[in-house]
Symmetry: C2
Subunit: 210 residues, 2 copies
């Protein structure tokens, strides 16, 4: 019932299909906005500033950190990645449910800053299936696959910090399930404090009228 936007963080094992899921959500439903990250890495062919990423220099990025313009950020190898606050807030205020796709450490930082954040963890139905999908991509060396699976062991330790598990077994079912979770979440009592206050006041006023 609440029409205010919800901040959603989606994490999950590499190979669980997060990217494709996010894409499908954005295409099929008009209540979502995908957060755009800022990064100091160079644009790749075909990437546009403000579409795939906000491309920033190290100086610009560090200024954003200093001015607390990022919801969370992290450094991988030599590049910064972060979530600019302004865009997210704008979309939430416009009533959009804003989806961030970030890993677990970032997810927990976001939840700490914004306790109303909804944390979703996308998982394949089994470890065997995860391995099959990573191999099936055909784009990764066995070394990369091995390191992804090792990382999955670590990531699985954090699964119970999330609010919901999304089992990406059948893709179509999974898209709908994800949408259903997020929509149901709008009805949570703690997201509807305004409604509760209003109807309480109305009922009390009605009692006095009689």
């Amino acid at each position: 019932m609440n029409n205010k936007g919800i901040l959603i963080v989606v994490s999950g094992f590499s190979g669980a299909g997060k990217g494709t899921l996010m894409k499908a959500l954005m295409e099929r439903y008009d209540n979502y906005a995908l957060s755009i990250s800022a990064t100091t890495r160079n644009p790749r062919n075909g990437e546009a500033d403000g579409r795939e990423y906000f491309f920033r220099t190290v100086e610009e990025f560090e200024k954003m950190i200093a001015q607390e313009e990022l919801i969370e950020y992290a450094k991988y190898v030599d590049n910064y990645y972060g979530t600019p606050k302004a865009y997210v807030m704008e979309q939430l205020q416009a009533g959009k449910d804003v989806v961030l796709e970030i890993e677990i450490q970032g997810a927990l930082k976001v939840k700490e800053k914004f306790p109303d954040t909804l944390l979703l963890f996308v998982t394949p139905p089994s470890a065997e299936e995860l391995k099959r999908r990573l191999i099936g991509r055909g784009t990764e060396t066995m070394d990369v696959i091995k390191s992804r699976l090792e990382r999955a062991v670590e990531e699985s330790q954090g699964m119970d910090k999330y609010d919901y598990l999304v089992n990406n077994d059948d893709f179509e079912t999974c898209v709908q399930e994800m949408h259903r979770i997020i929509q149901a979440e709008h009805d949570r009592v703690f997201r509807n404090g305004d409604f509760i206050s209003r109807i309480r006041k109305e009922l009390e006023a009605m009692g006095k009228e009689q």
Copy 2:
């Protein structure tokens, strides 16, 4: 993803439409079971034991209390009403989502005993609409309507103890919303401990294999 049954308590203002909602849920979806209450009141015309209620003598009922066979019970005027545990457990074990329709005190007692219980509160969109529906029924005296509205003021104080608010504005939307909430709830992390343990073990075993 979890197929274990969920225990659901539905409460709400008298006149919010709980009864009709429950009926629609049961008719349309086959994953629900409506809990049947036990009572010491006499059967009315057309009521059958084990369908509308389990009709019991005071002695039988008090024995059920003593033997802890009730999830919760209360006495209204001279009659006992309660929720027999056996039927609920049976249905949950069969994978059904079991719905109890009880008022707030009972709801909180159930949640205390079974912390995984899902608490839903059904509300009309406004106090004005609640009054309109109570009057519209045409079956109640203005005195009864007045006392129901007074009770609604009290009940509204407990709304924030619930997990979800279900706004019964448009009936069809509301039935679907209720179903969506309950289905999404199956994906909650705390209801999927078994899945999480399993995939963790699988991933660890896979790591050792390599």
